[in-house]
Amino acid sequence: MTRAAVRREAATAAIALLVAVAAGSLLMICARRSPVEVWGAMLGRTLGDPYAVGQVLFKATPLVFTGLAVSLALRAGLFNIGGEGQMVAGSLACAVVGAALPAATPAPLAIPLCLLAAAGAGGLLGAATGALRAYRGAHEVIVAIMLNAIVAGVALWLGNAGLFVGESTHTAPIVAGAQLPALGIAGSAVNASALVAVAVAAGVWWLGERTRVGLDWRIVGASPAAAENAGLPVARAVVAAMATSGALAGLAAANFVQGYKHVYEAGVGRGAGFLGVAVALLGGAHPAGVVAAALLLGFLSHAGLVVADLVPKDLVDVLQAVIVLAVAATAPAVRRFMRAEARP
């Protein structure tokens, strides 16, 4: 990314956050609360408490994965809103493989196997979405929304048909070797998958900026027609980019299944897939920006809980959507403004 592009993305994100603060304040007033009081409580009760900081990191971890998933697809000109289903499929696959391993499987073998299962299941869904788009011209957003619903239903069916333990809504626990340890921040749920997330972010940066494949995807994203003329296999690039994107979303399973619950549980991590859209847009579809945006939205998720006594916790869902809307609405204007500024 050039310096100007970084400045542009930063300006867009700053404006979007201001809009979100304004919209949030308005909603707080609707609930007859002082915005100063609620925002103050969000900051004070979260940043002043080590446990809460750990929880923010825990909530940010899956958002890094789903945010990277949306970013990578955006770079290739695709909109992956299937993160929710890809994450559920990845989580179920991760838990099933983790539970099926022999009890004595060593960690260096069990952890990668579970991650592979999560990425594989998410990647398969992503590939299916990409193939329907590339070869059948189907709109990837509608396809992904339908797949989200279908995966949720099939996961529930598989669970009730035998994967869930007894009358519960969770699977059998994964073996000890497959578990990712907690980082030990004041007893919070943040775990080693946060480190995996940072490593994967670096890997996505490398793939996008330093490899031939990343360059090809960017050309396809910028102009499919130009890519076609240059002899690039556009359809194959679309499927591959969506498969990789789906695999990234599937990896979000590491946080809940391997790092926290050690089982698949119905409804686990719900919402992190959709939030990936906000993370990717706010982060300017750049891996470093994604990590920063994931931290911010992770903070917002937790802050919504700690002020639930003041305002309905759904406030945070609205703010996340407002951020997406504001980034989309201000990006073209910021681009125009900066272009005009650059001219002598």
Partner: protein, 290 residues
């Protein structure tokens, strides 16, 4: 089971299920024919369902509730217009954001207004006899009026031009932005009335009650080749399929419930995989007017 399917009650059920789909698809075909991608149909249904319930609850009037649904759908469309027409925002991203915002906002306001984030209090509804449901007759009128308006009126001509050849329309001295704004507002109001059917048919709003119908309606628009009459007919097909599933669940216990409920989504996927190859979208769909 066959006897149950041939009954009047079954037909009434098909009609009841079809109305929200068909209204969303009719509204969506207006918007899309003008050149604007209408992923926000889901938000228009949900917000329409919410405002219809709130107005019906506050006034005790079903008619005002329906009007409230139209206003709610149009309000979403107005916000969409501000973002995509005025600010040139990405149409797909705006649609997705509006859908997410609608889910959160209706829950939030439900809590603020009624102290529950799941359900509204009971409101006057349109349940009971299908023929006595005013929304049925509004839907029937829309199913005739929208296709006629698109193919046989001056506004329809401009609408199609805005979607297919905006530069020609602009050259003729007509504001593309204005035509698209009108299409969005009218389409939003129609979809909003479809939303009113969702809440008023069960005499109350519940969170997330649109449950993907907006996306399915958009698939129907695509299946209908962006022709409103065919899109509405496709919705009748979806309504029929859904009613059959309900009958199957009532009469044949063996099939897993979790999977039976997935039929509308699976059907939509199949339709998208098969339909696009032969239908042609408006040429300027999704492109901002210069």
């Amino acid at each position: 089971m066959i006897a149950a399917m041939l009954s009047l009650a079954f037909l009434a059920q098909v009609v009841r299920i079809t109305i929200p789909y068909a209204m969303a698809a009719l509204g969506g075909s207006l918007t899309e024919r003008s050149g604007v991608v209408d992923l926000a149909l889901e938000a228009k249904l949900l917000v329409g369902a919410f405002t219809a319930a709130v107005v019906a609850h506050a006034t005790g009037s079903v008619a005002l509730g329906i009007a409230g649904g139209a206003a709610g759908g149009a309000a979403v469309a107005a916000l969409q217009a501000a973002c995509v027409l005025r600010l040139g925002a990405d149409q797909v991203v705006v649609g997705v954001a509006l859908n997410l915002a609608a889910v959160g906002l209706t829950r939030y306001l439900l809590e603020v207004l009624y102290g529950s984030s799941a359900n509204s209090p009971p409101v006057p509804g349109v349940g009971g006899a299908v023929a006595a449901n005013p929304i049925l007759w509004i839907a029937a009128a829309a199913a005739i009026a929208v296709p006629v308006a698109v193919s046989r009126t001056r506004f329809g001509l401009r609408l199609r031009a805005a979607g297919d050849r905006p530069e020609a329309l602009a050259a003729a001295g007509v504001s593309v932005e204005r035509v698209r704004l009108l299409a969005l507002l009218a389409g939003g109001a129609i979809a909003g009335i479809g939303g009113a059917q969702l809440s008023l048919a069960v005499s109350g709003f519940s969170a997330d009650m649109s449950s993907g119908r907006g996306y399915i309606a958009l698939a129907a628009v695509i299946l209908g080749g962006w022709r409103p009459a065919r899109a509405a007919l496709a919705c009748l097909g979806f309504g029929l399929a859904e009613a059959i599933v309900i009958q199957l669940q009532l009469h044949a216990g063996g099939f897993p419930r979790e999977l039976a409920q997935l039929l509308p989504y699976g059907l939509t996927l199949a339709v998208l995989a098969l339909a696009m190859a032969r239908s042609r979208p408006p040429a300027a769909l999704g492109k901002a007017a210069e």
